[in-house]
Amino acid sequence: MATVEERVKAVTGRVLGIDPSEIKPEHSFTFDLGAESVQSVELVAAYEVEFKIEMDEDAALAVETVGSAVEFITRVCKEQNVPAEE
């Protein structure tokens, strides 16, 4: 079963063109992973598709690190009754 963190890293790696094994929870999307502003929007959309959830865009874009994204998505999954792990 893939954890939320594994799924987030996989999506992040795919969108940013980075090997997921190089991504750590403490990484900042912009400072450490080099995400451009347009890629941040793409990431939010890709997480929504991956987890089958809908996120508040402003709140999602305010998330700074991979670890925070995991927490944010876990919370949204719970609120929307969607399984976070598969």
Binding site: E22, S28, F31, D32, L33, G34
Partner: protein, 718 residues
């Protein structure tokens, strides 16, 4: 805010000496946060540095990117295997602190934070700004920005365009400093159209680190800069700005500073209760202090560049005499009127000049200043007249006016003026009046760096300002002198008083301790005491109620004037108390002030307040009930020299009144000067004095007893 607090929280200029060489002449630059997408700020700044021909080494910092624009990229600035002098930070605001901390660890000397999202967006951004400023201070990093366009240095020794301006401007002798980034791009475009070049171009944004004050000091020393243009939205440390401006404009290198300032703050004025406070909005104070610091303030970009071109490309006129050459009588007369009203001279020509003009112009032409070459004049007539007047020893500069008539060869006249200019040693300004028809000629003039003004009056104004600056630079250096005062006596009152308005008897005592002339006064509590004191000082006298709850005494009939005998004093005292008991039954009355009646004289106001940006500021003007009506006031930083006090008095209409109008003897002007100096000293000595009005000071001739304070109002901070 006290001066001490301002030094801590306002300008950073006082914190340490900045060299700024790493900003303008870095040996290596890292752009931190570059992305590979053209058309984005992070990408284009990197591209601009690359394309500008930067003489140093350039490193892109772009996590997980192999290269940017074919240049090998680094994940972090600390990964660069070379020293880095300057980092340009283009990350989003929320991670800028991480980038600066790494720069500190790397030993980077300066950063330009282009990113927005700081103080300008509210409290969260302000906290971010404080955080990055603290990191810069910890590591000794000089920071430009945040929220700025960047920095350009056209010096071939650097060739640095670390900005997201579209094009590198051409090299020139003008430096441009701007708080607004957006204005910078417009200015660059405007300047390119007029072939104006820059030495340094700095958008300093929120000025969390390097301020305009630091930049002025740097540019004073910069051999590539002759003129400094400044666009300011807010003044953080006006005192440091004034000091820097004085050094830049009056030092041995003497460079003009031209400033466009916006951001007026009427809210501050509304909140103030005193006359001084209501008149001393920061803009009015800034205006006066700019003048006294040698900063030439202009109202538009057009004026800014015209004046800059005048300074940078035209010889500095050695006097105020202007020759006018026009093809239209009306505008010539208008220009003459404006010139004279602004303090310029329209001189008589030497005989040789008149002869030359007579020989080259038609008989109907006016060969006196303003020279009218007549409506059908073509370029030959203009050139002959202009060359003749510029040769005249009575002429310091010339103004060429043109109105487009059917036979006017506008472009040929412009070329002729340019040709005359090339061999002239005197300044020329032009006013080709009109729009579409004159545009090609105006364009030629502008590209040849001959200042052009749409209206002749504007040209005269610019010429007059040049004279003002010339005279300012010639003024002898003057320093405030300490006058003998009884500081201890004043401290005994001020230190013991609570925040708020000082009771009148105590305010008068403070002024007395600082040597201002006052009528005899005493606070009394009974009609009998009032009569006894009046008998002692002689009649007539004045009674004034003293109560912490009553600031405006006349509103409660708390003032009785011109009381000629004991009975009048007794009755007035009792009447005053009876009325107060009716209208202000709860008011706490300290007593009634009895003082001598001051004979008639000119009413002037001497004020002071503690300005958030400038610290203690003095005001002088026409006083009494006319203060706000006419607003005839001027300001200066306290403390003040005797000469500066004199210039304050001469700077307003009240000064003329004091010097004696229509046969009236002059008032004691030296006494007014000294009173201003003493009030300045008081403001510096006591930081708790928030504002102060001496209104009116009755100014009278020395032989009539000299000046006397009639009313005073002092408010103390906690």
């Amino acid at each position: 805010m006290t001066m001490a607090a301002m030094d801590r929280t306002g300008s950073t200029s006082g914190q340490r000496q900045r060299s700024l060489e790493s900003i303008f002449y870095p040996r290596s630059v890292a752009v931190c946060g570059v992305v590979p997408t053209p058309g984005t700020v992070p990408h284009d700044i990197f591209r601009n540095i690359l394309d500008s021909g930067f003489t140093g080494t350039l490193y892109p910092v772009a996590p997980f990117k192999r290269s940017i624009c074919s240049v090998r990229a680094y994940r972090y600035v600390i990964d660069i295997d070379d020293d880095v002098d300057l980092a340009v930070i283009v990350y989003p605001a929320n991670v800028v602190h991480k980038a600066i901390r790494q720069c500190g660890e790397k030993g980077v000397r300066a950063v330009i934070v282009v990113s927005a999202g700081f103080r300008e967006v509210g409290p969260t951004g302000a906290e971010r700004e404080r955080q990055i400023r603290d990191i810069c201070d910890d590591y000794g990093i000089d920071m430009i920005g945040p929220n700025c366009l960047g920095v350009i240095n056209t010096d071939p020794a650097s060739c640095l365009n670390a900005s997201f301006a579209r094009k590198m401007p051409q090299a020139g002798r003008i430096a441009f400093l701007s708080q607004s980034g957006a204005l910078c791009t417009a200015v660059l475009d405007y300047a390119r159209d007029r072939a104006i070049g820059f030495s340094k171009f700095v958008s300093f944004g929120n000025k969390a680190g390097v301020s305009e004050v630091d930049l002025l000091h740097y540019l004073y020393e910069d051999d590539k800069t002759d003129v400094i243009l400044l666009y300011l939205e807010e003044i953080t440390d006006g005192r440091a700005l004034a000091e820097a401006a004085r050094r830049v404009t009056r030092g041995p290198k003497g460079k003009p500073i031209l400033a466009l300032k916006s951001g007026r703050t009427p809210q501050g004025a509304k909140a103030a209760a005193s006359h001084t406070g209501s008149l001393a909005g920061q803009d009015a104070v800034a205006d006066a202090i700019f003048r006294e610091s040698g900063i030439l303030r202009v109202d538009s970009i057009e004026q800014l560049f015209n004046a800059a071109v005048m300074y940078a490309y035209q010889p500095l006129p050695q006097g105020n005499r202007v020759a006018i050459v026009t093809n239209a009588g009306g505008p010539g007369v208008m220009a003459t009127d404006a010139a004279i009203a602004l303090g310029l001279e329209v001189p008589s020509f030497e005989q040789a000049t008149s002869a030359s003009l007579k020989a080259s112009l038609p008989a109907a032409a006016n060969i006196k200043d303003p020279v009218d070459v007549i409506g059908d004049a073509r370029s030959d007539r203009y050139c002959a007249a202009l060359a003749a007047v510029l040769d005249d020893p009575n002429v310091d500069q010339a103004l060429v006016i043109l109105t487009p008539q059917s036979m006017t060869d506008i472009e040929a006249i412009a070329r002729g003026v340019i040709q005359v200019q090339q061999s002239a040693t005197k300044a020329i300004a032009c006013s080709f009046m009109g729009g579409a028809d004159v545009a090609p000629g105006v364009h030629l003039l502008q590209r040849a760096h001959i200042p052009h003004f749409i209206l002749p009056e504007w040209a005269c104004r610019a010429m007059a300002e040049v004279q003002r600056i010339r005279k300012w630079r010639e003024l002898p250096e003057d320093r405030p002198e300490a006058l003998p005062v009884d500081r201890d006596a004043a401290a005994a009152i001020v230190d013991a008083a609570p925040a708020g308005y000082l009771p009148e008897d105590q305010a008068l005592a403070v002024l007395a301790a600082y040597g201002l002339a006052l009528p005899p006064f005493r606070l009394v509590r009974t009609p009998e005491e009032a009569v006894a004191f009046a008998d002692q000082i002689g009649y007539p006298v004045v009674l004034r109620v003293v109560s912490p709850q009553i600031v405006h005494k006349t509103e409660v009939k708390g003032v009785a004037l011109d009381l000629g005998d004991a009975a009048a004093v007794h009755d007035a005292f009792e009447g005053m108390m009876d009325h107060l008991a009716d209208v202000r039954p709860g008011a706490e009355v300290s007593g009634v002030l009895v003082r001598g009646m001051i004979p008639h004289g000119h009413e002037v106001i001497l004020g002071a307040q503690r300005d958030a940006a400038f610290g203690p500021v003095l005001m002088f003007g026409l006083g009494g009930v006319y203060v706000e009506l006419f607003g005839d006031v001027t300001f200066a930083l306290a403390p003040i020299s005797r000469a500066r006090a004199g210039r304050m008095i001469d700077g307003v209409k009240a000064g003329k009144l004091l010097r004696g109008l229509r046969g009236h003897p002059p008032a004691d002007i030296a006494g007014v000067q000294e009173s201003l100096m003493r009030l300045g000293q008081l403001m510096v000595d006591f930081e708790r004095v928030a504002e102060l009005d001496v209104n009116p000071l009755i100014a009278r001739p020395v032989e009539a007893g000299g000046n006397m304070v009639a009313d005073v109002y002092i408010r103390l901070d906690p």
